[in-house]
Symmetry: C2
Subunit: 200 residues, 2 copies
């Protein structure tokens, strides 16, 4: 099965379990796709899955990739750590809402823009319980503890599912979490399964 | 009394109670100053107060403006909401540590850089207890709740003191806080008072 998840800057391709970043679609084969990029047109061999998601939410304007990442989770918190960090809460198959923080790279860029004194390295041994005693600690602590507290605040007793390129940098602070790198494609596969079953 | 607080982008002037942003020093009068700008040279009529601060901390590389803002607070949390947000904890006249978040403008710029879909307006009626249901709520909630939780996390039962140009945007969420816009100059005045007393 060939799937594409089209973002604003790149296209993720799922080809029978293997995920790669590609420049373009393989239009010689049949495929399914979702896209948040308005420039994408219709394809002869491609089916846009967006209209087929049955997603319960009051949230207006949720990106289809974010919908898809939530779609295979019946109950839990879904955290996608990419260029932005989206955090969404699913409860009994219903989406309760969510929020958006800057991604780790965006925080770093943001500090560097404020002052060259705020250029720093990610601390892989960061202690979230110790008040920082220098600039490097102060910036790492602020970024990761604020993300941590925000996720914890909405997670209640729910399980936390991480996906996205920078997921491991954040998931390291959550013992009970699960890293599911294919969450967006999992949602797409769930929709396709339902379409096929309905067609039978 | 004429005081200057020299930042990287502007110079704040305190002239007998009146605070203004100025382009340059008034070298015809005697003045005291602090500076985080390495380009500032010595002045004939100006005294750099930096060497006179007696500030107890293990923190390395703390900007002198941040030291000065903390200097007049014996016990409390000092939050300076400017181009960055610095949060520092003082306990019995000792600085326990602190951290640095992006400023409100930096968060806004950061989101706009990630995607044009993330350009938004500050919500003056934001409810920090309600899970967001659209992009504008999602971004406001993420910024202000993460800042709120971080300050609350270190504040314990301490009083919170706010200063800086965007202070009111954050202090609105803390009922028991105090807005002290002259905190940096208060620290400078405290140092000057001690110098003069010692000289007597």
């Amino acid at each position: 099965m060939l799937l594409y998840d089209v973002g604003n800057t790149n296209i993720k391709c799922y080809d029978d379990g293997e995920i790669t970043i590609v420049d373009d679609f393989d239009e010689k084969r049949d495929f399914y796709y979702i896209s948040v990029n308005p420039k994408i047109e219709d394809f002869k061999n491609g089916i846009d899955l967006a209209p087929y998601f049955k997603f319960k939410t009051d949230y207006k304007g949720m990106g289809i990739d974010r919908v898809s990442a939530c779609y295979s989770i019946y109950d839990g918190v879904i955290v996608d750590v990419g260029s932005a960090i989206t955090v969404d809460v699913m409860s009994n198959g219903e989406h309760l809402g969510g929020f958006i923080l800057p991604g780790i790279g965006a925080y770093k860029e943001s500090f560097a823009t404020i002052s060259s004194a705020l250029i720093f390295d990610i601390d892989n041994n960061l202690n979230l319980k110790k008040l920082p005693q220098n600039t490097n600690e102060a910036l790492n602590f602020a970024i990761f503890k604020s993300i941590y507290l925000m996720i914890k605040e909405v997670s209640d007793a729910k399980k936390i599912y991480f996906c996205g390129g920078d997921a491991l940098m954040v998931s390291r602070f959550f013992k009970e979490s699960e890293y599911k790198k294919d969450l967006v494609f999992d949602g797409m596969k769930k929709v396709i399964k339902r379409i096929k079953e309905t067609a039978c």
